[in-house]
C-alpha cells in the first residue's frame, strides 16, 4: 500500500467485488419480518397485560402487599438514539491561507489548481481554498479544503513535494477525506519527523511525542506547549524508529477547554524498516515455521506505539508453538515480552500461518502491559487465538494458550466464576480448544499455590 489514495481505491474495489448482489424483494422481506414480529409482540403484550391484571387483583386483595408495577409494553429492540446533531464549533479551516508560504499568491493559486486524486469526492476548483502552505522537514506541504459537489460537506486534501518545489510539482499526499471542519487536523511524516497541526487561530497546541509507561504498567504523557501562530504548528519531531509510529499525540486547547487530542495522520516518506530487535528465547525455540514472520511485525508495532527504539527495549520470546489453524494447517503463536525502559513489560502474542498460495497470514491474539518485577522466565499469561480461515464461510479456529511456568493444572473460567474445562499443563504450557465463554484461567501448582490469569485484550497506552 503506497498511500491513503491507494487504500481507498482498494477498499472500494474489494467491497464492489465482494458484496453479495442486491435482492429485489428485500424491502418486502423486511416488512414481512416486521409484521411477523409485531404480531408476536402484540401477543406477548396481551399476555403481559393479563398477568399484570392478575397481579393487580392479588395486591388489591392482599392489604399491605407490594404496589403492582404497571404492565409494560412489549419491549422494542430500539437501536441507539437517533444521531445527534453535531454541535456548532469553530471552523478551523476558515480564513485566509496560513503557514510560511501564505503570502505567495502565485504559489497558492497553483496549489488550488492541482488535481485531486480521488474517484469518489468531486470538489469543484471554485470551492477550494488553501488552508496551509509551507516548507517542512524534508519537503513542502499544502493543505487544501473544498466543498464536495452537491453537498455541504467539507473535504480536505494534503499535497506534498520536495523542498522548494513549485506548486505544479506537488502531488496528492493522501486521499481526500470528508471532515468535520470544527476538528483540528494534523499530518506527520514518521520518516523525516515533519509535523503540521492546523487548529483555529488563537488555539493553544501541545505535543506529546510518546507515552511514558511507568514501572507499575500505567501510562501517562508529558505535554509540551508549542508555538502555534495563527493556530498552525510546523515542527520536527525526532524521526521514529518504526516507519508508522502511532506514539505521537497532539492536543488542542481553546479558551481553556480541550477540544481535541488525537494522533496525527501518519505516513512515512522513507521505506526503511525498523532495525530488527534481537529476540532472547526463554524456552527452547521450536523448528522454524512460516508464521514466525509475524514476530517482526509485532515488535515493530510495539516500537511504533511506544515511540521507543530497538536499543531501548529488550525482547524475550516466552514461548512459541503451534495451535490448530484452518484446513489442518497449524498456526504459529509466539508469546513476546518487550521490556520497556521503566521495567514494565509489553506483552503481545502474534500469530501467523502459511496459506495455500504461499503467503503468510498474520494477526494478534492480544496484548497488554504488565508491571515490572517479573522475570521473563516467570511470566504467566493467557491468550485466546482466533485464527480465521480466510474463506467465505468465515470459520475460525479458537485456541487458548496458557503459560504459567509454576502451575501444573488449569481451568478455563467464565465471567461468573464457573469452571468451563480443566486441563493439565506440560512444562507450564497448555494449548487447548477455547471454550466460548472463557474470561480467565485459574492455574494451580501441586503445592497448592494458585493464580488467576485474565485473557490479554488490546494494550492501550493512551
Amino acid at each position: 500500500m503506497t498511500d491513503d489514495v491507494d487504500l481507498q481505491r482498494r477498499l472500494t474495489g474489494l467491497a464492489e467485488r465482494s458484496a453479495p448482489p442486491p435482492r429485489a424483494d428485500l424491502a418486502d422481506v423486511v416488512v414481512a419480518r416486521h409484521r411477523a414480529r409485531h404480531r408476536q409482540a402484540l401477543g406477548a403484550a396481551g399476555l403481559a397485560a393479563a398477568v399484570a391484571a392478575l397481579v393487580v387483583a392479588s395486591t388489591t386483595l392482599l392489604p399491605g402487599g407490594p404496589a403492582a408495577e404497571p404492565a409494560g409494553a412489549a419491549s422494542v429492540d430500539l437501536p441507539a438514539a437517533e444521531p445527534a446533531p453535531e454541535p456548532p464549533g469553530v471552523d478551523v479551516l476558515a480564513g485566509p491561507a496560513r503557514g510560511p508560504l501564505a503570502g505567495d499568491a502565485a504559489f497558492l493559486d497553483g496549489v488550488r489548481r492541482l488535481p485531486w486524486a480521488d474517484a469518489g469526492t468531486d470538489v469543484p476548483p471554485g470551492s477550494r481554498r488553501v488552508v496551509f502552505a509551507g516548507d517542512v522537514a524534508g519537503g513542502r506541504w499544502a493543505l487544501v479544503a473544498g466543498t464536495a459537489s452537491g453537498t455541504d460537506d467539507t473535504a480536505l486534501a494534503w499535497f506534498s513535494g520536495p523542498p522548494g518545489a513549485p506548486a505544479e510539482q506537488l502531488r496528492p499526499a493522501g486521499v481526500p477525506v470528508v471532515v468535520d471542519p470544527a476538528r483540528p487536523v494534523a499530518r506527520a511524516d514518521n520518516g523525516t519527523g515533519a509535523l503540521v497541526v492546523v487548529a483555529a487561530p488563537g488555539d493553544a497546541v501541545e505535543l506529546s511525542s510518546r507515552p511514558d509507561v511507568a514501572a507499575d504498567g500505567t501510562s501517562s504523557r508529558a505535554w509540551q506547549p508549542v508555538d502555534a501562530p495563527d493556530g498552525v504548528v510546523v515542527t520536527t519531531l525526532p524521526p521514529g524508529a518504526a516507519p508508522y509510529a502511532t506514539a505521537v499525540r497532539y492536543r488542542v486547547v481553546r479558551d481553556g477547554v480541550e477540544v481535541a487530542t488525537a494522533v496525527p495522520d501518519g505516513h512515512s516518506s522513507t521505506a526503511a524498516a525498523p532495525a530488527p530487535a534481537a529476540v532472547e528465547w526463554v524456552r527452547p525455540q521450536p523448528p522454524p515455521a512460516a508464521g514466525d514472520a509475524a514476530v517482526a511485525g509485532a515488535v515493530a508495532e510495539v516500537l511504533g506505539a511506544t515511540g521507543l527504539t530497538p536499543a531501548e527495549v529488550t525482547v524475550a520470546a516466552l514461548w512459541a508453538g503451534d495451535v490448530p489453524g484452518p484446513h489442518d494447517r497449524p498456526a504459529r503463536v509466539t508469546l513476546l515480552a518487550v521490556t520497556l525502559p521503566s521495567g514494565a513489560v509489553y506483552l503481545t502474542a502474534p500469530f501467523g500461518y502459511g496459506t495455500a498460495d504461499g503467503s503468510v497470514l498474520g494477526g494478534s491474539c492480544g496484548s497488554g502491559v504488565q508491571a515490572a518485577g517479573v522475570a521473563p522466565a516467570d511470566q504467566a499469561l493467557v491468550v485466546r487465538c482466533d485464527v480465521p480461515d480466510g474463506t467465505a464461510d468465515a470459520a475460525t479456529t479458537s485456541s487458548l494458550v496458557v503459560l504459567a511456568p509454576q502451575a501444573a493444572t488449569a481451568q478455563a473460567v467464565d465471567m461468573t466464576g464457573v469452571a468451563l474445562t480443566a486441563f493439565p499443563l506440560v512444562d507450564g504450557v497448555a494449548v487447548v480448544d477455547a471454550p466460548e465463554r472463557t474470561a480467565s484461567v485459574a492455574a494451580s501448582a501441586d503445592d497448592g499455590r494458585s493464580w488467576r490469569l485474565r485473557l490479554l485484550a488490546t494494550a492501550d497506552l493512551g
Partner: protein
Amino acid sequence: MDGAGFEDFVSREQAALLRLAVLLTGDRGHAEDLVQTALLKSYRHWGRITRAGDPTAYVRRVLVTTHTSWRRRLSSTEQVVGTLPDAADPAAPREDDDDLRSALRALPPRMRTAVVLRYYADLTERQTAEAMGGSASAVNTQTARGLARLRQLLAPPVLVAEEHP
C-alpha cells in the same frame, strides 16, 4: 408508515449497505443478515427517522452498532475474528484483493470498523464515533493504529512467504 418511501430507500441504498457490510463482517452471508437486521430495526421507526431528514446516516449507524454488538457477543476481547470473503467472481481473482483481504482480517474488529468507516465510507471522525458508539479521540487512535498495521502488512517484506519443510 411510508412503505413506498422505505421501498425506495432500500432500492436506492441496498447495494451501498451491502458493500459496507461485507467489509465490516468479512462474510457475504453475514453481510446480508446484517443489512436485513439493520433495515428491520430502522423500519420500526421509519416515520420518525424520515421526519428527521435523510435516513441514510441513521441506517448506517444501526448497521454498525448491530455489527459491533454481534462482535461483542462473539468475543469478550478484541481478538482477530472474522474473515473477508473470496471475490464475488471467482473467475476473476484479484491479487490486490487477496492482499487487502488478508490484511483487513488481521485487524481487531473495532480497528477494522474505524478504518472502513473513515476510508471507505468517508465519514468524519465524529460521524465514525457516533456510528461506533465511542469518542472521536478513540476513533482517531483506532484509525491511526489500523492504518499503521495495514501498512506493515501490505508493505513487503514485513510478511514474506517462506517455505519450510
